[in-house]
Symmetry: C2
Subunit: 307 residues, 2 copies
């Protein structure tokens, strides 16, 4: 990191029991917890793609840059340990922007006990890019893979879906706490976080698991923002369409046995609602069913990354 | 990562005994080695700052993006374990560019037994950005910090300095093997890698260690490229000036006791030359001395990152 910047930043960074050596040397040192594996995830966000610097507060952008990574850790049932923060700053904004980004992400790091272990802070003539790598830990074998869903499993989701563009895509809470509660007490067969759209990400989970899924569309929890978007666009997509295809909900999709589903739905052990939206089936592909009617194919829709 | 791209890339990625779960899920899983701490470092490279996409081969850019991180691990005496690769690709280049970048970094990852654990591949309307986080391991307490140099220690360096802009800044070999040999057999008090210029980085090592350094300028190993640059620019900086102030040599500076220095200089246990260029002293600051003459102040020069 740049020296003067580091001198200003360091007093702002919280200490962390696992951080043996923090920013300022060639690399950071993190202490191990015995018998765990390390879970590593990385996300790069770009101005004009994942946020708009001229419209969005830099603190919200900084917070989102870390939150998307914590969401990935949650989707693996991994407890966050640390993160490294790389920034490409437009030359005109420089250090002031960097500090704002950090002011946004530090409270989230504290909330989820994530050490800010280091980073690389640069300026250039291009737009803002943030790139964060988060490291967590899990007991090997206890991680939630996408590939573990079995025909007969129920599909549960946290929270509600659609319309995140109205604000949630910046201000969502990664489901780390929820994942820790679930991982400790319940057998979860598979999980992933919804970043590209509920139906698209569910279809990916099916593909990874070698099975299919039937959604009961009347059960999909639709966010208020999805209704709001639908009301704004007369003749456009419905609120349900938004819930099925909008990206960046950052909720969890879970595959659990019917018995565990019943237990979870009855006890609702999380701060956010858990809802059953369908079941995994042998037949590959995505299917829809309304209130016990016939099975119809459902096209997975969402944000497809194009290279 | 983008799906189609991943489908093409995955068969190219070497397997790795420590990679329990590789690219394709929400995060990667790396196995622990008992009793080690984790060493984490990250570097972001930008078109027009760290490379020029219109001039430099994409494979060399990909290779450099990983090599700068491995150099940081070497400077901590950490053995590489894995890396995650984030890319922001100009929309006009897309997947073809991404594959070329990977073709450049995969052989380096294989050479240094580094698992490619995951990544995030994006395209946008901006210039190419690469951001790699590398993870290594070290027995806690055995890491080389910048802060461990003591007055009386000798200053040793690997290789030679200056003129890296002529090619070495892209094609250097990170001193991982050398660091592993040294860490196993010798007591090294402090180390860092030279990324911003020999005199500037040495002055930072002095500052971190709370001491000063006297350089014998007649001993500084000058790279052939530094002589070449000096010859190109009549009346410009001398070859020695280049050696003292050019960035991106990616050689190691080491602080060792006189006894260890003598042993290392006599046995030359590395594939690259080890050279003594001066000693650490109590008096803070950087000093120069030519062949036993008086001490004169030496201004640290190099690449100062501006935000």
């Amino acid at each position: 990191m740049e020296r003067d910047f580091l001198r200003r930043l360091l007093p702002r960074l919280p200490s962390h029991p696992r951080l043996l050596l923090g920013p300022g040397d060639d690399a950071a040192l993190l202490a191990l917890a015995k018998d765990n594996a390390w879970v590593v995830t990385t996300d790069m966000l770009m101005d004009g793609v994942d946020f708009e610097l001229h419209r969005h507060d830099a603190r919200r952008i900084g917070r989102k840059s870390l939150a998307v990574n914590l969401s990935d850790l949650a989707a693996m049932a991994a407890r966050p340990v640390g993160a490294v923060i790389s920034l490409a700053l437009p030359r005109s904004c420089g250090e002031a922007l960097a500090l704002e980004l950090y002011e946004g992400l530090i409270p989230l790091a504290e909330e989820f006990e994530t050490a800010i272990a280091g980073g690389d802070t640069n300026s250039w003539n291009g737009p803002l890019v943030t790139s964060i790598t988060a490291i967590g830990e899990v007991v090997p074998g206890k991680e939630w893979r996408r590939s573990g869903a079995k025909p007969g499993d129920e599909i549960l989701v946290t929270g509600s879906f659609g319309g995140s563009i109205l604000g949630k895509h910046l201000d969502f809470t990664p489901r780390v706490r929820e994942a820790m509660v679930l991982a400790e007490k319940y057998e979860i067969h598979a999980a992933m976080d919804v970043s590209d759209g509920l139906s698209l990400d569910l279809s990916r989970m099916c593909e990874a698991s070698g099975c299919g899924a039937v959604l009961d569309l009347s059960l999909v929890p639709i966010a208020a923002a999805a209704h709001e978007l639908a009301a704004q666009e007369q003749g456009g997509p419905s609120a349900l369409d938004h819930a099925l295809s909008d990206g960046e909900d950052f909720e969890l999709i879970l595959a659990v046995s019917p018995a565990v589903a019943e237990q979870l739905l009855a006890s609702q052990p999380l701060g956010v609602p858990l809802t059953r939206i369908g079941r995994f089936v042998k037949q590959p592909g995505l299917w829809q069913q309304v209130s016990g009617g016939p099975l119809l194919p459902l096209s997975p829709r969402g944000y497809e990354h194009q290279l």
